[in-house]
Symmetry: C2
């Protein structure tokens, strides 16, 4: 995708996303290393030939010495601890993250005085598995990677983060933190909530109901297989946006219930849902072109394009 020399990367947290990122970048010729809190996780990465340490300070000092791009790849509850360490040991490095929510990360980054070199990120990829054993260098291939275009974003760090996402095989959706968080509440956090509720309803039917379950139940509950702590770490930091769409969905479901009770009809729900799914299936990515990082109004132009479904597939 790019030909210029690639700066090294330092990945903090080598679980499913961070570990897959380290592997994907290494496969593209990046010099990279990582930190992992769990000794077993770090050892598993080392066994696969990756330079992953349990010494956070050492990983960050090396990042500071080599002007590495630091990627925070821990769940939201652990972000604060990472940022404190970055502010102490590598405050001048370019900084991004792959956390599932953006507003709280932006706030924490600014509170640590790291806002100038920070550009948020969120690759829309994953599985119900977690940990190094689940990592896959192809995880981001053809995935969408949200990259921040909030006010005050600087062109040079932004370009480095976008280049990393593109090199990992993703396309980039430019989006500000608040819009990102509202969108993922709808297409990532609500799916988790509904999957948990569906699984609960199925199991309440006992062995008979679970024995009769087929494809619709299997697919509809798949992400309920995700570890509860991880689901909470993903959804709870986005409580405000999730509450908004959860309230909206409760109203939709209550209206369907009322219509089913009064008229034995699910017409409105079935038609609206089918139209919506068809919109999703027919949505096509179009390429954003002609916007150069740092140009006049580049952030506004990228924001507007992202809102309309545009993606970046290369650096201009």
């Amino acid at each position: 995708m790019t030909s210029a020399k690639k700066a090294p990367i330092c990945v903090l947290g080598t679980g499913l996303i961070g570990g897959s990122l380290l592997r994907a970048a290494a496969a593209e010729g990046y010099d990279g290393w990582g930190y992992n809190r769990s000794a077993a996780g770090a050892q598993a990465a080392r066994d696969d030939g990756f330079d992953v340490t349990e010494d956070l300070t050492a990983a960050l000092q090396r990042a500071a010495d080599s002007d590495a791009l630091i990627v925070i790849a821990v769940p939201m509850p652990a972000v604060e601890h990472m940022l404190a360490a970055v502010a102490t040991f590598a405050p001048h490095c370019v900084l991004t993250d792959v956390v599932s929510v953006k507003g709280p990360v932006v706030d924490a980054v600014r509170a640590h005085g790291l806002g100038d070199r920070y550009v948020g990120g969120h690759p829309m990829a994953g599985t119900a598995e977690s940990g190094w054993a689940a990592t896959d260098p192809g995880l981001f291939r053809d995935a969408v990677w949200a990259v921040g275009v909030d006010d005050g974003t600087h062109a040079e760090p932004w370009s480095r983060v976008v280049r990393l996402a593109l090199d990992c095989g993703a396309v980039v959706v430019p989006v500000v933190a608040a819009a990102h968080d509202r969108a993922v509440a709808r297409i990532s956090h609500l799916p988790h909530v509904l999957a948990e509720a569906l699984a609960t309803a199925g199991a309440a039917g006992g062995a008979l109901a679970l024995g009769l379950a087929a494809g619709s139940f299997r697919d509809g509950t798949r992400v309920a297989g995700t570890a509860p702590d991880l689901v909470r770490a993903i959804c709870e930091p986005n409580a405000a946006a999730l509450l908004e769409v959860l309230d909206e969905t409760l109203r939709v479901l209550a209206a369907a219930r009322d219509s089913l009770r009064a008229e034995q009809s699910l017409t409105d729900l079935a038609e609206a849902g089918h139209d919506a799914r068809k919109r999703y299936e027919s949505a096509t990515r179009w390429e954003i072109t002609g916007v150069r990082p740092g140009d006049h109004n580049w952030l506004e132009d990228l924001r507007a394009a992202g809102e309309r479904g545009g993606v970046l597939t290369r650096l201009g």
Copy 2:
């Protein structure tokens, strides 16, 4: 699976389920033919070498002449019309169905005086597609096929229906109509309702949200791709059981919303959902043995076994 001579089958409705059944049975050596209302659908089946007519009377007279097993494979709204024709032209044939709800079919069958030779069925298989073009003789392989064990079921027709299900590659869950309908409300009809609501919530986020959508949204909304009329034909006849579990699920979701609002916590929902999904993943089919159709208490014994997750894999 079975070695005795197979009686012919007459399939009324050669869409996804009925057509796949005709193909699966033919592959197992059954003599079979079908009726389809749509001329285009019947022609498509004939083009593939299957004997499918638009003449319902002719199909049923042939069934009466050859003592065929009649399979009603139309959506619930069309069942009444099929039963009236069966009562007129082939009232002495063994009769089953593959409709997604059982209580209303049982009631209609009895109203037409056909209860003595009827055994209800419901193969738990399907896709979001429909029509002959979507048929697949392997659709029922390793699927679960619910077969009725309601009071008054006779051993001979029951055995013929079970044999057909087994020959199509399925395992059989013995279940009475009311228990079936409560179970499928949980694991088939609620998944449709939640998928429609999720698709609606995603599309309300516009191009940005749909563009960021990944696996959890794709899988969670898959069945919203089903034609709205078909979703209605599946869910609406089971309104009573669906209302019960929909009310239950609205309470679960409202409690999660309240907890998220008051304490920014999804703990209860995430843990209950995860436990439920693990129960589903670890559920194992065990084989019901030692119950012979017609023996003392055979219906009660099969019912109890089905409630505990047992399946029939052969005729005793």
